[in-house]
């Protein structure tokens, strides 16, 4: 599956994003499952809410990390996340 540019992106209702102090990282929690996230994946998933679309996520992150050209990496990750059912559109 690939992410559609115009549509809003949300975390799937069965998934929960949570900061874990003991491991010093964000994790994604779901029935009997746990994904440990690296920093960039966590930054993207944190933005999968409200009315955010792909371009919103890209611009927020490019601003936050004062860089450009992040879009291809973000799309790649979002496609994987869609395939795994972590997010919906």
């Amino acid at each position: 599956m690939s992410v559609q540019p115009g549509k809003t992106i949300q975390l799937s209702p069965t998934y929960r994003l949570q900061w874990e102090q003991a491991q010093n990282m964000f994790v994604l929690l779901y029935p009997e499952g746990l994904v440990e996230l690296n920093q960039s994946s966590a930054e993207i998933l944190k933005l999968c809410k409200d009315d955010n679309t792909l371009s919103d996520i890209v611009s927020v992150l490019e601003q936050k990390f004062s860089s450009t050209g992040l879009e291809p990496d973000i799309i790649n990750f979002l496609n994987t996340a869609l395939d795994n059912g972590w997010i919906t559109q």
């Binding site: 599956m1 209702p13 929960r16 949570q18 874990e20 029935p31 009997e32 499952g33 746990l34």
Partner: protein
């Protein structure tokens, strides 16, 4: 307890086996054969201490299982306490004796997910395998779980008697609205090991089942996730032991014994530590049992010089013990193991139907076996 030089990775998963009590009698139960003589149970306060200490170390996924966890009167209290600690809480239940009020009460307490097990897709077979009339009730419970907005895993343990129902089982899962289906081939520990000859499917049955599972995995993509794992007996290579012994999983048995794997209490002279004597931190970091199979220093050949030793960690030590008498041996499910014939012999004999009746899991049989 002896100190260990390297600090192991923290536990991420806590399996709280609240009780061995269970109204069902599944002959593939992984509880120990002698469970009926282990009748001391941790108190509510003991469990709270365990939950808190484990959470502080890093555990975040929490399974309440058993036996049947619903038989514990303090289940809701423990769910609520765990929820406040920040756990993702899973209830692993047969659904027996569950009603709408309980489902709502647990929801309010913060329960995140319910896994319900069903024994088969037909009433006759379900009630036979469960040893208890429960089929219609389980289906009602599954519907109520979905009605109240929980994600639901439907778990069906597969074996010779029900694996031919694969298609009907998956249709039932769709009808009940399951989000995930776990088609768990029987693993031969505890009661399942005792009943192995009657439970092992034939190679043909497995091949047929796998085709159907794959079909549904494709047609249900994006709707219902289907987990189907080929049993290690037939694969030629063992499954990785618990993601590495003492790296991820912590099981606490009803009496407070801390286990690196739910079968570890059957290993002889293994001295699993009890939460009545030690803190979770001492148990995880320092106990002999948890350090025993960490790393690869304990390995014998062929594992020691095998290129796959970091992939499967030599397989399952409990299976190695059950089938070869020595937990340090390679898991005989591996075709490089000199004892691999113990597996191939079992597969060959599964082709011949056995006359022996299934031994059901209940206190009477548990006590009989002990003597």
């Amino acid at each position: 307890m002896a100190g260990s030089p390297n600090k192991p990775s923290p536990p991420r998963w806590l399996l709280a086996e609240l009780t061995y009590a269970c109204p069902l009698q599944c002959p593939y139960c992984s509880n120990p054969l002698n469970y009926a003589s282990i009748d001391k149970e941790l108190s509510t306060d003991d469990w709270k201490r365990v939950l808190k200490q484990s959470r502080e170390m890093g555990a975040v996924q929490l399974g309440f299982s058993g036996g049947e966890p619903l038989t514990r009167k303090d289940l809701t209290e423990l769910v609520s306490y765990s929820h406040d600690l920040g756990y993702y809480t899973n209830l692993i239940t047969s659904g027996y004796n569950m009603d709408e009020a309980k489902i709502l009460e647990l929801k309010k307490a913060g329960l995140d997910h319910i896994q319900v097990s069903i024994q088969a897709s037909s009433k006759e077979l379900n009630d036979f395998i469960a040893g208890t009339k429960s089929f219609e009730h389980k289906k009602t419970v599954a519907r109520l779980i979905k009605k109240h907005g929980y994600p639901m895993v439907l778990c069906v343990v597969l074996h010779r008697e029900n694996i031919h129902q694969m298609k009907e089982i998956l249709e039932m899962a769709i009808e009940l609205g399951a989000d995930f289906v776990e088609l768990a081939n029987t693993q031969y520990y505890g009661w399942a090991h005792h009943n192995r000859d009657q439970l092992m499917p034939t190679q043909q049955q497995l091949n047929d089942a796998e085709v159907i599972a794959n079909e549904y995995q494709v047609s249900q993509k994006g709707k219902m996730k289907i987990y189907y794992v080929v049993p290690d007996y037939y694969e030629g290579r063992p499954k990785a032991c618990m993601n590495g012994w003492g790296t991820t999983f912590l099981t606490i048995a009803p009496d407070g014994l801390a286990l690196p794997c739910h079968s570890a209490r059957q290993l002889p002279n293994f001295d699993c530590p009890s939460v009545n004597d030690f803190s979770i931190q001492e148990i995880w970091n320092e106990s002999k049992a948890f350090n025993y199979f960490r790393g690869d220093a304990w390995m014998k050949e062929p594992c020691r010089s095998c290129k796959d030793k970091d992939k499967d960690f030599g397989g399952c030590h409990c299976q190695a013990f059950l089938l070869t008498g020595d937990a340090h041996n390679a898991d005989p499910a591996c075709n490089l193991s000199p004892q691999h014939h113990t597996i191939t012999d079992a597969i060959a004999s599964a082709e011949q139907p056995t006359e022996q009746a299934l031994l059901f899991r209940n206190s009477k049989n548990s006590k009989l076996l002990k003597n």
